[in-house]
Amino acid sequence: MKRFWSRFGPVVLTGLFVLAVALVRLHAQPADEAYTPVGDDDIGGERLPATPLVFAAYAAVWVMLLLYVVSLWRRLGRVERDLSEVMTKLGGRQP
């Protein structure tokens, strides 16, 4: 037994070390979950500014409301003009 360890001891220890390293690497965290350092300039690029979104939201509300009001106003004006013309032609008769 003593002769075995003196002859194969370094080989067995080297084999155990290689096995341990392989096991550690096998159970290591995947790269996408690990911390990745970035430069100072890269952090600013990730922030989404709120100001354009708020302005876009308020502008969208106003544009859509104005389009609807103008459309309603024009349709109402056209129908009431036509109605008054037809009523004039009808004289006293009521539809």
């Binding site: 709120a50 939201a57 969208a60 349709r75 037809v86």
Partner: protein, 221 residues
């Protein structure tokens, strides 16, 4: 001069004054702790969303009344409410994603509140298409669609409490702190005045259109 016609100038003046002052009133509100500036969208988004549900519900009431009594005024009221619901749906479905992009990190999520609002908006879109292209007699069919669309309103409202969603719950507005509640109520009054004006004017347009059709028929006889 009817009550509605007397009401329009007063409500229009109220809407103009309150909307003109709205930016200054909103500016007095404090920033929300987690969302910051983007939360300012709330002061226009939520009143429009509440009135979207209110007009959707009123369209159903008007439609049901029309199906029972077949009066022109009920039909005109239902149509006016459906059109305003559709316009407010466009606003909510455009403004909401702008807020969501910053608050949730995505433009859209297929969660219950957003999905049901989209479905409701499409139903009222179908109502308007039916009225535009349905031909004679489409009023009754559209009224049935209006009732069907209004049934969705309670589901849209309570969806955030019933299911797990990204969207904030209905408890947000009643629990608003006073400095945020003031600007919210200010904008709510502005939109309520404008909505009433829009519904009254759209009703007037529809009643005038019906009168014009009948006048043409009388002229041809």
């Amino acid at each position: 001069m009817t009550f509605g016609n007397r009401l329009v100038p007063v409500l229009l003046a109220t809407a103009i004054v309150t909307f003109a002052a709205a930016p200054y009133v909103i500016d007095t509100a404090p920033y929300e702790s987690t969302m910051g500036l983007v939360q300012r969208i709330f002061y226009f988004h939520v009143p429009v969303a509440v009135l979207l549900l209110a007009t959707g519900l009123l369209c159903g009431v008007g439609s049901a009344f029309y199906l029972k009594n077949r009066t022109d005024r009920a039909d005109a009221f239902a149509l006016a409410c459906a059109e305003v619901t559709f316009v407010y749906g466009c606003i909510v479905l455009v403004v909401g994603p702008l807020w969501a992009r910053k608050a949730w990190g995505v433009w859209w999520d297929w969660e219950p509140r957003l999905t049901m609002t989209l479905v409701m908006w499409m139903i009222f879109g179908a109502y308007l298409l039916l009225r535009r292209f349905g031909g004679a007699g489409s009023e009754a069919l559209a009224a049935a669609v209006g009732v069907f669309g209004s049934v969705l309103v309670p589901f849209v409202y309570w969806s955030v409490n019933m299911w797990r969603t990204l969207h904030p719950k209905t408890s947000v507005v009643p629990t608003l702190p006073a400095p945020m509640m003031g600007p919210f109520l200010w904008c709510a009054v502005a939109f309520l005045a404008l909505t009433t004006v829009l519904v009254v004017l759209r009703m007037r347009l529809e009643l005038s259109r019906v009168a014009l059709e009948r006048a043409y028929i009388l002229l041809e006889e």
